[in-house]
Point group: C2
Chain length 323, copies 2
Amino acid sequence: MRALFFDGKLKFTAEHPRPERSDQEACVAVSLAGICATDIEIVKGYMGFRGILGHEFVGKVLESGRSELVGKRVVGEINCPCGSCELCRRGLGNHCPERSVLGIKNRDGAFAEYLVLPDKNLHLVPDTVSDRDAVFSELLAAACRAFEQANIREGEQVAVLGDGRLGLLIAAVFIAHGVEITVIGKHGEKLAIAHGWGARTELIPGDPRDLRADIVVDATGSASGLAYAMEMVRPGGRIVMKTTIAAPHALSLAPLVVNEITLIGSRCGSFDHALALLAGKRVGVGALISAEYPLERAEEAFKRAGSGGALKVLFDISGHHTG
Amino acid sequence: MRALFFDGKLKFTAEHPRPERSDQEACVAVSLAGICATDIEIVKGYMGFRGILGHEFVGKVLESGRSELVGKRVVGEINCPCGSCELCRRGLGNHCPERSVLGIKNRDGAFAEYLVLPDKNLHLVPDTVSDRDAVFSELLAAACRAFEQANIREGEQVAVLGDGRLGLLIAAVFIAHGVEITVIGKHGEKLAIAHGWGARTELIPGDPRDLRADIVVDATGSASGLAYAMEMVRPGGRIVMKTTIAAPHALSLAPLVVNEITLIGSRCGSFDHALALLAGKRVGVGALISAEYPLERAEEAFKRAGSGGALKVLFDISGHHTG
């Protein structure tokens, strides 16, 4: 099959062996797949992964032991826990230390004609949700998680720091739930999208103390985001942290203690929540698609995805399934 | 009056003017006062404060507009908010940007024969609580705050990192509330105190992953405490952060996001909670007193308080009131 393989370098191949499924797994023919910041990090060599990249996808089930899945359009959760360790038994499978993760850890991913995931990871895509909407499910679920963890109380003011794809989706989820929100970012044309959805927007730099909020979501993806968020958030407030910076960087958390701020680490979220928002047309993700490429043009696609101006770059793999 | 004044250097003086009280303030004759880590930081020049040091005290009300206070033994909350700003109106007076803080910011402190605080900051000390117990109220209240913010659920495991005075008091509060706790520290003789109260204890260094807990309280006071806590805490767990390090230091918060940890900044707490624990003899703070000095021997007292082996060092000011 055709696939995008990473072994220190990104390589397109038309001759990759098709993945084998085990008893409780399904084989999915991928239709669309999205490039995520994590993929870009992997290609830069930060994660140690070797294999087929990609974890945001929508596709059609080709084979599964569950006959009700076969032929259906699906999206899928990316964490595949062991099911038996202490964390799995406590319902924290997403944190299982033995888990494989689609296109990220010990499991080939979605930048290929076919992928394999456990049956129980799959979610049926409602008929009213297009492929181009459904491919955002994984990222939108992560945005929903930020909303759920923020746990907003009446009258609290919310700001999202960062106008990238995740920041905008987080804003969309808050707006879909009737929350007034301010999006703070560096890109006028990206902020314009949030403004179109009903958000207040602010171009940085500004004085963070002029932009006070009870809850700040840091989706900047940059090391300076948290310091800015700590200056912005009101004493007693909460910061939901989406930014992952692996390398140590200089930081003082003294304001966190002095101002009694709570910092909430936030990762993957609920596909059910995300699919319900998409099915109800409550978030408009279409505006976030910057470009679509075939797998063969991977280098170009990654370059575009990594550029400052781009939002979501997709691989269109539909209609190319060669078996 | 006799007082310990800091103007870049620590100076004992027998001739300091007695503080004047305003209408809604009380003048308190100090009996005992404790040296806190913040005092040591101020003397090192970190906080920019000039004036009489000290914020942990017990004393007797000499003058007040509230006649029911006069002659009574009291302890006092150290934050004096403006009462009219947005944060004060929202009940967050402890975070009022205009507040003065006893012995820390814009208000002379407790290392003197007399101090002045707003009437409403004072709490009566129950007859069953000795001066040597009551002087711990402010620090014990901060420990109670860690317990309250931890918000423990059935079956969760709790660890306290740090065996200094605050770490031990935090352990005492958890134990008083029936929580099994592990205290992790560097000093065998300090851990022995916690062990005597019923805590499990562990000498570091050890592998933090062998010491898993759902809730970790960082009371190390050192920059390395948080990294250790992030390795110890289970995914989905919580870290209550008591350590304040003003200078930026190298740190990666990636584990916080990946493992969805919540980091809770924690500062001052409830005097009512602390006094109730002391009145019920539910925490034994006496074991934490390392030494007592008269104000004249301040240099010696600060040296002792700053040494690794010491817990709480007190100034005994009772019986010296000269008016």
